[in-house]
């Protein structure tokens, strides 16, 4: 035990000596949650709109004013001819051009119908459809106002946004962020640190010591467990106190699941390090095989239901997927163990599998 403690101390020295990495280990969760909380959003704000007005009468001016008064749009410019549309789209700043037909007001009063053409820059399809939807809603609103006798709608829809009434994006990102950082710190850092001992030849020295191989590996991962856990707690604290992300379920269960995922990531890191001969391979393997799939296929940013079937199937073997489901349910829905036993069991299964494979692959002797 004393020997083991000495080994753990040695690993701690390795980590603590490297101030740059340490600063990033603490700084990264903070910066990421701030970015996701404040800057990264799909909500439309101040999309730039240009007008091509062939009539310039009170009605079209009123609609323009109404559009610009909304928080979603800001003025890009007035165009005088259809050829100008292409030019104004060119630099990518303008998202929407509204074309009013000539004699707009007259037609509206005489024929009871007038036309507006909405031309959207659809290089970004989602922004384009949102912009068109909002513009249509504002136009509809304008029509309602000029017709006072408009009756109440036939069906009154009451919507309730369960679990996240303000549709706050940060609620959605916090669990995913924890998963990514744990993967980074636990899996990637461990795999590289073990591969490093191999590459620089110090592994040989360690293996020749009276320590058992399992103890050597175990001593390597202990400091990373602590660091990862610290990071997870940091994100939860920031999420709760800066962004008000609730923790409805039991804190104990939440931390337990987090610890389980840390162990999972560590066993994955060990597996990677046993199959890669040097740091570069370990790095590329964890980057391409771990980080990107975790970011993309776990449901962190992109909903799994939107993916084509083969990817949905693949997402089942992404460990972070199960962790993210569990954390979301505990934090935002207050679910208990009974609803989550399946996810927890799957994570256990992953750990056993990774450890079993690593033990088989681990070579005590160097070639």
């Amino acid at each position: 035990m004393k020997r083991f403690a000495a080994f753990v101390t040695k690993e701690f020295y390795h980590i603590l000596r490297d101030k740059r990495t340490l600063v990033i280990l603490i700084g990264m969760p903070t910066v990421m949650i701030m970015l996701f909380g404040f800057a990264i959003t799909n909500e439309l704000k101040e999309a730039r709109v240009a007008f091509l007005d062939h009539s310039n009468d009170p009605q079209t001016l009123a609609i323009q004013e109404k559009i610009l008064a909304s928080p979603y749009f800001s003025l890009s410019g007035q165009i005088s001819s259809p050829t100008g549309i292409e030019d104004i789209f060119r630099d990518g700043q303008t998202k929407l051009v509204m074309v009013f037909e000539s004699d707009f007001g007259q037609r509206l009063e005489k024929d009871g119908q007038a036309n507006i053409q909405l031309i959207a820059d659809a290089t970004d399809p989602n922004t384009a459809s949102t912009v068109v939807n909002y513009a249509q809603a504002i136009i509809l609103d304008y029509t309602r106002n000029i017709i006072p006798q408009q009756s109440t709608p036939l069906i009154n829809v009451q919507s309730q946004m369960r679990y996240n009434p303000e549709l706050n994006g940060v609620y959605y990102f916090v669990p995913g962020l924890i998963a990514i950082l744990l993967m980074l710190v636990s899996a990637m850092m461990t795999s590289i640190s073990i591969a490093r001992e191999k590459e620089t030849g110090t592994m040989e020295v360690l293996l020749a010591s009276p320590m058992k191989p399992a103890q050597i590996i175990l001593a390597k991962v202990v400091p990373y467990v602590l660091l990862s856990f610290l990071d997870a707690v940091l994100i939860l604290t920031l999420g709760k106190f800066v962004f008000g992300v609730p923790i409805l379920g039991s804190l104990g269960l939440l931390l337990g699941v987090t610890l389980l995922f840390i162990l999972l990531a560590l066993s994955l890191g060990i597996l990677i390090s046993t199959v890669s001969p040097n740091q570069q391979t370990a790095l590329l393997l964890s980057l391409m095989g771990l980080m990107l799939p975790t970011i993309l296929l776990s449901g962190f940013i992109f909903p799994i239901e939107n993916m084509p079937l083969p990817l949905q199937v693949i997402s089942n073997i992404i460990p972070a997927r199960w962790f993210i489901i569990a954390v979301k349910s505990i934090m935002l829905k207050g679910s208990g163990f009974l609803l989550l036993w399946k996810e927890i069991l799957i994570m256990f299964g992953f750990i056993l599998f990774f450890i079993a494979v690593s033990v088989r692959k681990f070579k005590i002797r160097l070639e």
Binding site: R20, T21, I24, L35, A39, I40, T41, N42, L44, K45, A47, I63, F89, R90, L108, G112, Q113, A114, N115, I116, L118, I119, T123, P125, A128, N133, I146, S151, P153, L154, I155, N156, V157, Q158, S159, M161, R162, Y163, L167, Y172, L184, M188, M189, I192, R196, E199, Q279, Q280, L283, L284, L287, M288, L292, L296, L297, F302, N306, M307, S329, L339
Partner: protein, 374 residues
């Protein structure tokens, strides 16, 4: 010049000799491009609906048929019990609960209006927002149908009132294909990540293994050493970019409207910049672990703030200003403008100037900071 050629040869030998790195560099980007392009999809389809109908009338069934016929919705379950609906929400079996109260049809005929309650699982805010928006459209549609069928029985006049008819058209991407938008951006991300990582790791590796000392005692000059490191990686980067471009064109049918020459010109300068960035990181760090970690940290922030996944215009002003110093932002702008809109050099000259300046400054710093002593 001869010295540089020898160094380049050495680097290529080292890259091709390493059997585990080569497939990762060449095959992974293609696989990633495929997976990413299919996964990075924000379109909302198949909103899973739970149907709770306390009315069980002809009208409510008419609405149910509309939901079943719609492409946006997928009926997963129905029940009378509010408990079952809550459980389905909690277990993520459904995204949206439609609750039709009792007397729904009765109220429609009697009062001329009725209520429907929608409950959405709003953990994913975007999906919940769009889901309820689609539901509202569907209900409006239903109202129109209902009025057409039974409108004569009640005292609502569906008289023709003045109306404004908005028609819309989507330029540059008529079918709103999300992949057309994402694939060029993802290509930028892959080139950036591979470029920065490989160059950062490459030099630090020599440091860590001690072989850099051997290089330092040779009469090779600083600039020769750096050119010898950068040129092979630059060729590799252009090669990866080409592979990605071919995949984008053949597999995803992403249009390349603008000039290919312009795209390659920009990529060439950009690669010099990003490889220089990797090198700059390597001069500051001592181990590969450090180098990898620091580059990862900056790249993730750069990628998130580049407008790749979420539009820059949606960010608050301070964050928008911050993105002005983000080199990836400019590449993504250029590749989208040129490939999808056919922008010409005048449209993207600003981006060229910025990236050119970046390349000079970063590489200058890297050369200045590289010490031939240990």
């Amino acid at each position: 010049m001869r010295v540089i050629l020898f160094l380049i040869r050495k680097e290529f030998l080292q890259i091709f000799r390493n059997k585990s790195i080569l497939p990762l560099i060449l095959v992974m980007p293609v696989i990633q491009l495929f997976i990413l392009s299919y996964a990075a999809d924000f379109e909302i389809r198949n909103v899973r609906v739970f149907w709770m109908d306390d009315d069980q009338s002809t009208s409510s069934r008419m609405l149910l048929q509309k939901i079943q016929a719609s492409d946006y919705f997928q009926l997963v379950d129905q029940s009378f019990s509010p408990k079952a609906a809550d459980l389905a929400l909690e277990q993520r079996k459904t995204d949206l609960v439609f609750h039709i109260p009792q007397e729904f049809e009765h109220n429609l005929f009697r009062e001329g209006h009725a209520d429907i309650q929608l409950t959405a699982d709003a953990i994913d805010g975007t999906k919940a927002g769009l889901g309820t928006y689609y539901a509202n459209l569907l209900i409006q549609d239903f109202s129109r149908d209902w009025l057409a069928k039974y409108g004569s029985n009640i005292h609502i006049q569906a008289a023709s009132m003045p109306s404004i008819v908005p028609t819309y058209s989507f330029w540059y991407n008529q079918h709103l294909n999300y992949k057309t938008f994402m694939v060029p951006g993802i290509l930028v991300m892959l080139v950036t990540m591979i470029g920065a990582f490989i160059s950062a790791m490459n030099i630090v590796r020599e440091k860590e293994l001690g072989t850099i000392e051997q290089l330092n005692v040779t009469p090779i000059r600083k600039y020769q050493f750096i050119a010898g490191k950068l040129i092979p990686l630059w060729i590799l980067g252009l090669f990866i970019f080409t592979v990605g471009l071919v995949v984008a064109k053949l597999a995803f049918h992403v249009p390349i409207i603008g000039s290919l020459f312009l795209i390659y010109g920009f990529t060439a300068i950009y690669l010099v910049m990003i490889l220089g960035l990797g090198m700059l990181i390597s001069t500051f760090t001592n181990t590969q672990q450090q180098a990898m970690f620091i580059s990862w940290f900056f790249l993730v922030i750069f990628i998130l703030m580049s407008g790749l996944f979420t539009p820059i215009e949606n960010m608050p002003p301070w964050a928008q200003n911050l993105t002005l110093i983000n080199p990836i932002r400019y590449f993504i702008e250029v590749i989208r403008l040129v490939m999808l809109k056919g922008a010409v050099f005048q449209d993207v000259s600003l981006q060229f100037v910025v990236i050119g300046l970046y390349a000079i400054i970063i590489n200058g710093l890297a050369i200045w900071n590289y010490r031939k002593t240990v």
